[in-house]
């Protein structure tokens, strides 16, 4: 599997996901602005991958800066972090990763610029390694809810492409598949940006895991026909009460799953949990440009010129629609998240956002 994000000798290399599945193109970022643009333009997407890319972007800025005094260096890094903070508002992993990078700067405020550069890169690479390890643990825990013969519905792409590797929701699928369970995935195409049709289908086919692409409109009737045993999705931000922000359409799926008695699981690392936010209502939801809806993915216009469009990128699924949240530390009921995940977070990420 081609890595989603990689540090190679002072370059951040991103697999350009806007070109998939037609073309496997690597985007070499020589400065952090390129990384920030790639995040903004969805060339790298998926909450954990955004966090990793931003951390490596900060390390890249440290690597390329001309600042020589610790003060100038620290100020520049603050500006860089602010730039990354403004790229996308919903995925909390971005703020979490930037917070970790900032904490290095604060902890080692007396260190030399060279030392700080080294420490920032080390921290970014650690974030990346940890994410991969968390995904493998998520897969291990989550695979216990997948039985042989299960037909699994997933939405968007919560796979290796959305993370440092292996994936969250698709990490669970991968782990079940590696255990020899015969499973079949239905991938919602996930309009408007089609991450399901473009990325999830591509990723699963690379592994030989059976997958069928459906329009988002087809999920309901498949549940009615009892062809879905399990829904598995990722998350962009989880509030302390277990409410989950994820790709637009997740809420509809969760309502459908509840109406049909289909278990609905969210898979996400602890970096997705925002203990500073009490409930999903406070999660900022990104509105993206109309052209994503009116011009399809290819640029062909499919709606009348000048028509009004509402393009919400995410929605919030209340905790009571969620059977379980699969984390690297185990599977929890949404209402357990605060106790299990947030007390451990104390003194760590405090949910700072600009």
């Amino acid at each position: 599997m081609i890595p989603t994000v990689e540090w190679r000798d002072g370059t951040v290399c991103l697999l350009d996901q806007s070109c998939l599945p037609g073309e496997v193109r690597i985007l070499n970022c020589y400065d952090h602005h390129m990384v920030a643009s790639a995040i903004r333009d969805l060339k790298v997407r998926g909450a954990p991958a955004i966090g990793v890319a931003a951390a490596l972007g900060v390390a890249l800025a440290a690597h390329t800066t001309r600042a020589t005094s610790p003060l100038a260096f620290a100020q520049e890094m603050e500006t860089v972090c602010a730039e990354f903070s403004s790229t996308r508002p919903t995925a909390v992993n971005l703020f979490w990763a930037l917070d970790r990078m900032r904490r290095v700067l604060h902890t080692w405020a007396q260190a030399s610029v060279d030392t700080l550069k080294r420490l920032l890169l080390k921290e970014a690479l650690r974030i990346q390694e940890e994410d991969l390890a968390m995904n493998r643990a998520i897969g291990r825990h989550g695979s216990t809810v997948v039985a042989d013969g299960h037909q699994i519905l997933t939405h968007c792409n919560a796979g290796a492409l959305a993370t440092a590797g292996y994936g969250t929701a698709l990490g669970v699928v991968r782990a079940a598949w590696e255990q020899g369970k015969r499973i079949h995935v239905f991938a919602d195409e996930t309009r408007p940006v089609l991450q399901g049709a473009r990325l999830t289908a591509w990723e699963l086919r690379q592994e030989g895991i059976p997958v069928t692409v459906i329009t988002d409109n087809t999920a309901g009737v498949l549940m009615k026909q009892r062809r879905i045993d399990l829904c598995l999705v990722g998350a962009d931000r989880i509030a302390a009460n277990g409410d989950v922000a994820n790709k637009i359409g997740t809420y509809s799926l969760a309502v459908l799953a509840k109406a049909h008695g289909v278990p609905f699981y969210v898979a996400a690392p602890s970096s997705t949990i925002d203990c500073a936010i009490a409930s999903g209502e406070a999660i900022p939801i990104e509105t993206r440009p109309p052209h994503e809806v009116t011009s399809l993915y290819s640029g062909t216009r499919i709606a009348p010129e000048g028509v009004e469009v509402l393009n919400l990128a995410f929605d919030v699924t209340p905790a009571d629609y969620i059977t379980g949240i699969i984390t690297e530390r185990g599977i929890f009921r949404p209402e357990q998240i605060d106790k299990v995940m947030c007390s451990a977070h104390e003194g760590e990420f405090v949910g700072r956002r600009e």
Copy 2:
């Protein structure tokens, strides 16, 4: 408004809906095969419009035939009806219209070929006129459920473009608008063929009725945010028990509407009611080619080569999800359909299908 289907001196003229909204192109059909292809390729679509187009297609075949003996003529018309019957399986208006055309042939079995040609054209034009009149009546009845200030969600296109004119679900919208009610329509884009983004948005903007295009994934969160007062959709076939086959995704919408306490209305003329079918389970559901999903509307490939696709064109919404069915004869609860609409149908359409 440009007519959806029109008879002009021995030509069936269709507004090519596959070109909208980019281009207003009229497809002139000089033989009935062209009309049948246009139905198959969704150049004319929408259950009532398909019925009208097929009836005019039969009249066109009668107009252009070289048969001179009544027997040869009758046999040829049977072949023509069979060709139209095979175009699309779900919309019952097609079979209903063909049945009416066949009844002319049977009733006037002793007439001359010239008389039959005249009678077939007259019947086709009557089907067209009746459809327009039924839509206006649907609008009149349906507008009583639309209040000033209502925000209405619709799916696919059940407008003038889907009928002989005025529309079913959009006929209700039109009537409410003509009454001076300030309304706002949210149009689901309706993947895969995007009739909402392409056709509903275009049609409403022609009339100046406020419309916002959303992805199908956005409907749930809008209901959760209490931004939808009413769902209004069309139908491709209604079973005697009030179950409704309509564009894929309608069932999901109905489940969402029920979960949020949003009234869910289906608007359709009596030609959409199939009294010969007891419940929605017996309605044949068309599976369409994968390329509609994998290649978007424009031909650009958006899923990996060779990926498996399930492209169901319709789904069935059980009667208990439906608040009311708006017909030309009034608004009925689904469970009333059998008594009110099917007893009156006795001796008329018997649901014959090839």
